[in-house]
């Protein structure tokens, strides 16, 4: 009687409170899901969410009063609103979702709530793709999915013991792995829109480094410590020599005494462009997002993407800021000269010197002008000045405070490329030669099939206007002070005692970048256009969206059938004994015929089922199953036969089992 009572009381008891193991699993899933988002939150909010998780799993936790719960939710919404001036957008939206997920744990009372939290965790994990699409994100997402599915198993089993964690995780993996082919089919075949469904708002991707569009001493040397990739280049034809690899970026013509910045005319279109025919260097660039407009190219681009513009100072600017990995093809003409005469404001801007600084430099330059006269000679004299005086190329130069030009040229004489480029341009302007600073990247390392250009390859050089024939010419004063910078890359010239740059570590990083490159090339930049060309290897030029959908449906059905088959039959590996295989085949046939012996039934039970299904078949069924039972279970006893006869009999029996006609019910 007592047993009856407890068994009746059981469902209500289960509804009333969740097993502690379930709470632990669900909270672990939720915490794992919000972990990447926590890194982007204000530290106090992140700590608050993490401590709610800890509070919920502690033993002395009790559900707060509903008034307190409502207040917490309102407080969370208020904080997010205050942080972002609204709730609309990627960052506030995802953070709100994280808060709501964790606050839901105050209502984690029944298995329904647990299921809801796990489902919501899947959604939170997916939102992380709005911020990052790297391979690591993908791996993280898979892990989170695995954890979530395992939690669902735990919820459905009504708890778990520590010793079972391993087998539960294996069960979870068995759910994740068969879904991968289906997910791949969806990824490649689900019809894509050629324009994004919603635009991702700019300005939220903070902490992205790169060239900024202006330059003051120290800007580029700060980039030196950033080992992240800037872009990757794959040359389709011949590759130019290393000292020609000047990747042109922002051009800086204005100088206010401290900062170099862009010309006000940089939005004006280029006056003359290199001809397409002369462009002999073709390459494809995979640009990491830097949230600005520049595309990097070798001088001077002749063929470039249609959504970008070439400005009057030959900056290549994309219409929209680069917020995702962008792949583009470019052809450059290295021999082209921008020699259309400059005049008026452009000329003034290229000669402008701010008053009050660089007095000694001005004197030096006017001496040269008076002594040599011709522009080429003055340039040569300036470069000789850099070479003959004790100039050093180093990162940790002293800050130049009052007068960056004179202090550098005459006192400290130590600096990074931006010091040289800036000082050289100043000297040229003081000597009456139009000059400007160009920033960009120089060189790059050969990483197998592509050239990897890192942030640390950022560089600055000068351009001077010589005459109407030669036009603007590139002069790199750094190359005179530290030729290795151009020949071997930035690492060659600066002593880096840092263990971070140990050769093996650099190698690991290069391999990781290869993976990223592959990922960007094949996964991230897979778009509607590439989707329509998906079947090109099979000889089908283009597939439209309807065909894609049809293909997807067919493939999904096929994959589902394979998965179904796998679940149903994969556990049955082939046995070494042909008789056993033939018997298992017979059991499957019986299952298909509707006799349906369970898999734990022994042969005698199966035999009885067959006979009760069709009593007429009794004699032949008994004979066959009797033979099988003796073969399988009486083998090895004193009555067994010699090996040869046995083998012969085994073959006979296997044939009989396969030939057995399943009787029909009358």
């Amino acid at each position: 009687m007592a047993e009856l009572n407890t068994s009746l009381a059981r469902p209500t008891a289960r509804q009333r409170c969740l097993d502690r193991a379930i709470v632990l699993w669900v909270m672990a899933t939720a915490l794992f899901a919000i972990l990447p988002h926590l890194t982007r939150m204000p530290i106090l909010l992140a700590i608050a969410l993490a401590s709610i998780c800890l509070l919920r799993i502690s033993r002395w936790y009790r559900n707060p009063h509903w008034l307190l719960r409502t207040a917490t939710v309102l407080c969370a919404v208020g904080i997010i609103f205050w942080l972002h001036n609204g709730l609309w957008g990627r960052l506030p939206g995802s953070q709100l979702l994280c808060c709501m997920l964790i606050l839901k744990s105050f209502e984690l009372n029944r298995s329904r709530d647990a299921m809801l939290m796990v489902s919501l965790s899947f959604f939170v994990v997916a939102t992380w793709f709005l911020f990052s699409q790297s391979p690591l994100t993908f791996v993280y997402l898979m892990a989170a999915t695995w954890l979530g599915l395992t939690s669902m198993i735990v919820i459905n089993r009504d708890g778990c013991r520590p010793t079972e964690i391993r087998s539960l995780l294996i069960q979870g993996a068995r759910l994740v792995i068969p879904a991968i082919p289906l997910a791949l089919a969806m990824f490649f075949l689900f019809p894509r829109l050629s324009v994004p469904l919603w635009g991702i708002q700019g300005g939220e991707l903070e902490g992205v480094t790169g060239l900024s569009g202006s330059m003051s001493p120290g800007d580029i040397s700060n980039l030196f410590i950033d080992d992240g990739p800037a872009f990757r280049v794959t040359f389709t034809g011949s590759k130019p020599p290393r000292d020609e690899l000047y990747w042109r970026g922002p051009v800086l013509s204005r100088f206010d005494g401290k900062r170099w910045s862009q010309s006000v005319y940089s939005s004006v279109a280029a006056r003359n462009k290199p001809s397409r025919e002369a462009a002999d260097i073709s390459y494809e660039v995979e640009l990491e997002p830097h949230r600005r407009h520049w595309l990097f190219a070798l001088d001077y681009p002749a063929i470039y993407p249609s959504d970008s513009r070439l400005s009057i100072d030959y900056q290549l600017r994309n219409v929209r800021p680069i917020s995702n990995v962008k792949r583009y093809s470019i052809s450059s003409d290295l021999d082209f000269r921008d020699n259309r005469p400059i005049n008026g404001t452009l000329l003034n801007e290229s000669l402008y010197l701010p008053s009050g600084i660089g007095q000694r430099a001005r004197e030096l330059a006017s001496n040269w002008q008076a002594e040599y006269g011709a522009a080429e000679t003055i340039v040569a004299q300036a470069l000789r000045y850099f070479r003959d005086n004790p100039f050093f190329y180093r990162l940790d130069s002293l800050p130049l405070l009052a007068d960056p030009i004179d202090e550098f040229l005459f006192d400290s004489r130590a600096g990074y490329c931006e010091h040289y480029a800036g000082a050289f341009t100043f000297l040229m302007r003081a000597a009456g030669i139009p000059a400007r600073v160009v920033t960009g990247y120089q060189g790059g390392i050969d990483n197998g099939e592509y050239l990897l250009v890192r942030q640390s390859d950022a560089h600055a050089w000068a351009e001077i206007w010589l005459d109407d024939e030669q036009g603007w010419s590139r002069v790199d004063p750094t190359a005179w002070v530290a030729p290795d910078r151009v020949q071997q890359g930035s690492r060659a010239v600066v002593d880096v005692p840092n263990w971070l740059h140990a050769p093996w570590l650099v190698d690991v990083r290069n391999q990781a970048d290869k993976l990223r490159h592959w990922w960007n090339k094949n996964i991230v930049s897979f778009n509607a256009n590439r989707q329509s060309r998906l079947l090109q290897p099979l000889g089908i030029e283009r597939v439209d969206q309807r065909q894609l959908l049809l293909l997807l449906i067919v493939l999904s059905v096929v994959i589902s059938l394979v998965i179904f088959w796998w679940y149903r039959f994969a556990g049955r590996s082939r046995h070494a004994d042909p008789v056993v295989n033939a018997y298992r085949h017979l059991i499957r046939r019986l299952q298909q015929a509707g006799i349906d012996p369970p898999h734990h039934a022994g042969p005698q039970t199966v035999m009885r089922k067959v006979i009760s299904y069709c009593p007429d078949s009794r004699v032949q069924t008994e004979r066959l199953f009797g033979r099988y039972i003796r073969y399988r279970y009486a083998h090895g006893s004193e009555h067994s036969l010699d090996a040869e006869t046995r083998q012969l009999k085994a073959k006979q029996l296997a044939d009989q089992l396969r030939a057995f006609r399943i009787p029909r019910r009358k």
Partner: protein, 333 residues
């Protein structure tokens, strides 16, 4: 239904022309007659009767657990009278002492020395009735004798007769006035049998027929010590194929991995399962064990050995149900 399939099975098994060294058919027939006689006395429980015979042939002891009045004692009495063995019954009570079971040394005036007076345990079949009503000390005396097949009294070891077979009965543990048998001692019983209520038809016959005691008094012994020893020797010769050993091992392993089991089956339980399955095969006139033999014995053998996890809401799970669950989820090799 059951006897029908039984006869069909023996037909299947015995048409094996290669079989030569079978126990004499007459002996097996006598065994069949013995089972039939017990079934005539204990109405409506053919399955527990077969299990009891299996336990006997496997050389193990049997625990019969059920509510009062369903025929536990009748089953034990019927077995004893049919087997033709020397029989004693001990009624366990709360004041029963170990000496009441194993015997005591009494000073004899005539010989001027202590003489051992053997207790009721010195017989081939011992019916320990309501074993869980005796205090643990007395229970232990019996259970030790079961394990060792000898008793030690006054420092002297005395062998028990052979075959030595204990049928213990007990009431369900949650009834008042009982002492729970410890797990280690439960393990001494090869099988635990439950009878349950008889079917309507059997119950009707029970009411119609003369008193059970009369039937018991009228029953004749069919087997004897020698025949039983011979049958037990034959049990050990029943062949077990490697596929079947795999099956037994898989069942034992599954019991240890089951989610609701705290302590699974021991290797000793595996050996016991093997022995009981052999006995079941012989009972069905077979010289080899088939998976069905193992399946028939498994629940009775594992039910009292499995330690179930205590649920959070103090809900006791039925170990026999879990044993059946293990059977249903383990594939036959």
């Amino acid at each position: 239904m059951h006897t029908e399939s039984h006869s069909r099975l023996s037909a299947v098994a015995l048409d094996d022309s290669a079989a030569t060294d079978q126990p004499a058919k007459a002996l097996l027939d006598e065994l069949g007659q013995a089972i039939a006689q017990v079934n005539r006395i204990v109405l409506g429980h053919p399955e527990p009767v077969r299990l009891a015979f299996c336990g006997l042939l496997a050389g193990g002891h049997v625990l019969v657990e059920d509510l009062p009045g369903v025929g536990k004692t009748t089953l034990a009495n019927a077995l004893a009278s049919t087997l033709g063995l020397d029989f004693h019954r001990i009624q366990f009570t709360s004041d029963l002492l170990p000496a009441d079971v194993v015997g005591v040394s009494v000073y004899s005036q005539t010989n001027e020395r202590f003489a051992f007076q053997p207790g009721p345990i010195f017989s081939q079949i011992v019916l320990a009735d309501e074993i869980n009503r005796a205090p643990p000390r007395t229970q232990s005396a019996l259970l030790e004798a079961m394990a060792e097949e000898h008793v030690t009294v006054d420092g002297q070891q005395r062998e028990l007769p052979s075959p030595f077979f204990v049928i213990a009965t007990q009431n369900p543990v949650d009834l008042a006035g009982t002492w729970l048998l410890p797990d280690s001692q439960l393990d001494r019983f090869l099988l635990k049998i439950t009878l349950g209520y008889p079917s309507a038809q059997a119950e009707r016959m029970l009411l119609e027929q003369p008193d059970r005691q009369t039937l018991l008094n009228n029953s004749t012994p069919i087997l004897n010590t020698d025949k039983l020893q011979l049958l037990i020797a034959h049990v050990n010769q029943v062949h077990v194929s490697s596929a079947l050993l795999d099956y037994i091992q898989a069942l034992i392993a599954a019991s240890r991995q089951h989610a609701q089991i705290h302590v699974g089956l021991s290797p000793r339980a595996g050996l016991a399962l093997l022995r009981a399955s052999r006995a079941h095969a012989l009972l069905n006139h077979r010289q080899h064990v088939i998976p069905e033999d193992v399946q028939m014995m498994f629940v009775a053998l594992a039910g009292h050995r499995l330690k179930v996890i205590e649920q959070t809401d103090h809900q006791a799970l039925d170990p026999s149900g879990i044993a059946q669950d293990i059977l249903n989820t383990t594939a036959v090799p």
